[in-house]
């Protein structure tokens, strides 16, 4: 376009850009001004952004992007947020670790904290085996009910949490039921008899003749841990055989397998892996699931 005279298109009445192709002229229809100004504003903003924030990636000889004047880093922000959360929880964890376990449930504020912390720690560490609702699976006890192999008081639960069961820790809870069949202690017929006796003990349908025969075998082989009446003994983690609850199952086939091969479930110890406050929170959480016993 030459000169200052505007070239007006005769048909539309609009100014042209002066560009012409085969007699066709381009009209000058600029973008709305508000749009143009916002566009300029974003350019200005982006320059400021590149100066203040990490923006230009991978300059030679640099790790990561340019740091920007604000030295902003999401990693640092997360680390700071985490340590701030730690600092905020710190006093409550300290109070929890310092308080006697039994008193926590009577302190609403501390109880709420312990339950929240316990629920979170349970989800991270325990739910894999015990289930997210602590409902348990075959071989992994349900922690909601009132059946406890090693005791359901606060200190019992804490002891189990700290040192585990058959965990290899020096202070672990330890007991080993013999594999009566596999190790040849009892014959197949004797196992059949003692299983029928256990079925009878728990009020299930059993072969009366075999059960009668199994009574003596039970007294000789099993009663030392499970008790004469089969009520179990917590010192050995020996389950009560007369109730409706079975860790592995109470039917004939499962019981026969248990007597033949034994069951030696393992719970890991947490003493070196979780801090005192978290262990306390977990103990209180499990205790308040519903089955907790008085200590």
């Amino acid at each position: 376009m030459s000169g200052s005279k505007k070239d007006i298109d005769q048909v539309s009445g609009y100014e042209t850009t002066g560009h012409e192709w085969d007699g066709i002229k381009e009209l000058n229809r600029p973008l709305p001004r508000w749009w143009v100004w916002i566009f300029y504003a974003t350019i200005v903003w982006s320059i400021g952004y590149m100066i203040f924030m990490p923006a230009i990636p991978g300059l030679p000889g640099m790790a990561g992007a340019t740091p920007g004047l604000r030295n902003h880093s999401e990693r640092t922000n997360v680390a700071e947020a985490l340590s701030a959360a730690e600092a905020a929880r710190g006093p409550l964890f300290a109070k929890l670790a310092g308080a006697s376990l039994g008193s926590v449930e009577n302190d609403p504020e501390l109880l709420q904290f312990a339950l929240a912390a316990g629920r979170s720690a349970f989800g991270d560490n325990c739910a894999t085996c015990h289930g997210s609702g602590a409902q348990g699976f075959k071989g992994y006890p349900n922690l909601n009910d009132d059946v406890w192999l090693w005791g359901g008081g606060l200190s019992d639960i804490k002891q189990t949490l700290l040192y585990g069961i058959r965990s290899g820790h020096p202070d672990t809870r330890q007991s080993d039921m013999p594999a009566f069949g596999r190790d040849g202690i009892l014959s197949g017929a004797e196992i059949h008899a003692v299983v029928n006796h256990v079925l009878a003990l728990s009020g299930q349908e059993a072969d009366a003749a075999a059960a009668a025969g199994g009574r003596a075998i039970f007294a000789a082989q099993c009663a030392s841990c499970h008790g004469e009446a089969g009520k179990g003994l917590r010192e050995f983690g020996a389950p009560n055989l007369t109730d409706a609850e079975w860790l592995y199952g109470g039917d004939y086939e499962t019981l026969r397998e248990t007597v033949t091969n034994s069951r030696r479930g393992v719970m890991p110890y947490w003493a070196d892996r979780l801090d005192e406050g978290t262990i306390d929170a977990l103990a209180i959480y499990v205790h308040t699931l519903g089955g907790g016993e008085g200590s």
Binding site: R29, P30, P32, R33, E105, N106, D107, P108, L111, Q112, L115, G131, S132, G133, A134, Q135, N142, N144, D145, D146, V147, N240, D243, A244, E245, T288, L289, G290, G291
Partner: protein, 495 residues
């Protein structure tokens, strides 16, 4: 556009040289805004607008300073949105976040009021009460105070940048910014204790959000009411488009009575009025219009029905000795009736207005009932779903519940929790104790939610049905507050 008058429109009435810059024919999408210099006008509707301006702005700026004693530890501000504490205080009401439906109801009521009023008398919201209108009015008043009336403002606009122009323009924008800042500043008073935040704001101790929102509203007030004005209504606001659904032929609108006014033209003293219209084409109605339109072009989207053209025209009609009301609140149906020589009418009772009024009454009734039956306690029950039930060694079955008591009182209350299920259930609360008769005392902390772990145990014999309906009930002997909530007890039985 020339500032000078274009001769006489009638005896003693000069014809103004003014174009309706925003009329449908004059407007182009890509054209820069042409400034509008609304002329000063006085009259009935202007007086109503001044009164409403003082009232609405007075309420907006003044309300946060109003005190309402609530007792120790409670805010003494009559209207306060406390985001941190999760409370909305409105005089005698203290609304919790879960009672947000009161706010929802208020908003629905406001919308229905708007529908009803629009169906009856058109865009009175736009013309009198909309913040955009009120603040624009205020900004134009400030502009007129500094720069003078229409002609002086046009002259100043065209004048080169002399010291006088810089001083006047500077003063105008300073006043605008001051008003805008007062507006943005008043906004944050609704979210904090007003005297405290007002002091902290200037000492630099206020939270960042206070500065952010004060700045944001200062900016929007200044730009919307000062710089953009009528463009907000014409281009940005959805309401002019929506309201078409509420108006009909009976709705009152600011209307130029074409039957009376046309043919228009200058009138010389002594000439007869027969055979011509009453409109002397003095263009006062265009000069006073803040929207830059000519009302004589008919009903237009840009018209906010502020009625300033009515005031302007009435004054002229008085001067030339013709009846007032050449421009008036009128309806489309009346234009037809006049053509048929029928009496004009206003029919407020129409199916549309009756529907809107009925909907309004229903919502208001529901809200009033909700308000009247509002208690000082609420109970929420969340049944454990993992596991849904636990069978105990003796064959009985237990369900766990998260029981939350909302104590709206400002003192701690003891609530007696009782459970009704048709069969006796043992109730056990962690940290509180067991009760065989199904009734436990729970200590609810003041003005907050207190959660409890509650276990219900049903005997083996109850496991004959899959589930039991359970009603939880809490009652405070001290305050009489009572709340009940229904839940379910899963027995784990499949039959």
């Amino acid at each position: 556009m020339d500032v000078k008058h274009q001769g006489l429109a009638a005896d003693g009435v000069s014809r103004l040289d003014v174009a309706a810059v925003n009329s449908a024919t004059a407007r182009a999408l890509y054209k820069a805004r042409e400034p509008i210099f609304p002329k000063r006008v006085s009259g009935r509707f202007r007086a109503v607008k001044w009164a409403l301006l003082i009232l609405t702005l007075g309420v907006y700026y003044g309300l946060p300073w109003l005190r309402w004693p609530r007792g120790a530890g409670e805010p003494s501000q009559a209207v306060l949105v406390d985001f941190e504490g999760g409370r909305f205080y409105f005089f005698f009401l203290e609304i919790w976040p879960q009672e947000i439906y009161f706010i929802t109801g208020l908003l629905i009521l406001a919308a229905l009021t708007l529908f009803l009023v629009t169906a009856l008398v058109g865009r009175v919201w736009c013309g009198y009460a909309c913040p955009q209108t009120v603040w624009t009015d205020l900004f134009i008043a400030a502009e007129r105070f500094v720069e003078g009336d229409r002609n002086a403002r046009i002259r100043l606009d065209r004048a080169p940048w002399t010291a006088e122009k810089i001083t006047k323009r500077g003063a105008k924008h300073a006043i605008w910014l001051l008003i805008a800042f007062a507006t943005g500043g008043a906004w944050i008073l609704y979210f904090h204790d007003a005297p405290t935040i007002a002091r902290d704001f200037f000492t630099g101790d206020a939270p960042g959000s206070a500065y952010l929102f004060a700045g944001l509203l200062t900016f929007t007030t200044y730009s919307l009411a000062g710089l953009m004005r009528e463009q907000v209504c014409t281009y940005m606001c959805p309401w002019p488009r929506i309201q078409g659904a509420m108006t009909d032929h009976e709705t009152l609108e600011v209307t130029y009575r074409r039957d009376r006014g046309e043919p228009r033209g200058a009138h010389k003293k002594g000439e007869p009025w027969d055979g011509r219209g009453d409109c002397v084409d003095c263009r006062q109605c265009v000069a006073v219009c803040p929207m830059g339109i000519d009302i004589r072009d008919g009903d237009q989207l840009e018209c906010i029905n502020c009625a300033l053209c009515i005031d302007a025209c009435d004054e002229i009609m008085g001067k030339i000795g013709r009846p007032r009301g050449l421009i008036a609140y009128d309806s489309a149906v009346n234009a037809e009736r006049r053509a048929q020589k029928l009496k004009p009418r206003f029919r407020p009772l129409r199916p549309r207005t009756i529907y809107y009024a009925a909907a309004w009454l229903i919502v208001a009734g529901v809200m009033l009932a909700g308000l009247a039956t509002r208690t000082q306690a609420e109970l929420s029950i969340l049944r454990d779903r993992n596991p849904t039930y636990v069978v105990l060694s003796d064959g009985s079955v237990r369900n766990g519940y998260e029981v939350k008591i909302l104590n709206k009182d400002n003192v701690a209350r003891t609530f007696r929790l009782s459970v009704e299920a048709g069969v006796p259930l043992e109730v056990r609360v962690i940290g509180t104790g067991t009760s065989p008769d199904g009734s436990v005392a729970l200590e609810a902390r003041p003005d907050t939610v207190s959660p409890f772990r509650v276990f219900l145990t049903a005997p083996k014999e109850a496991r004959t049905v899959p589930s039991l309906d359970v009603t939880f009930r809490v009652e405070s002997a001290e305050s009489g507050a009572l709340a009940t909530t229904k839940s379910v007890f899963q027995t784990g039985s499949r039959t």
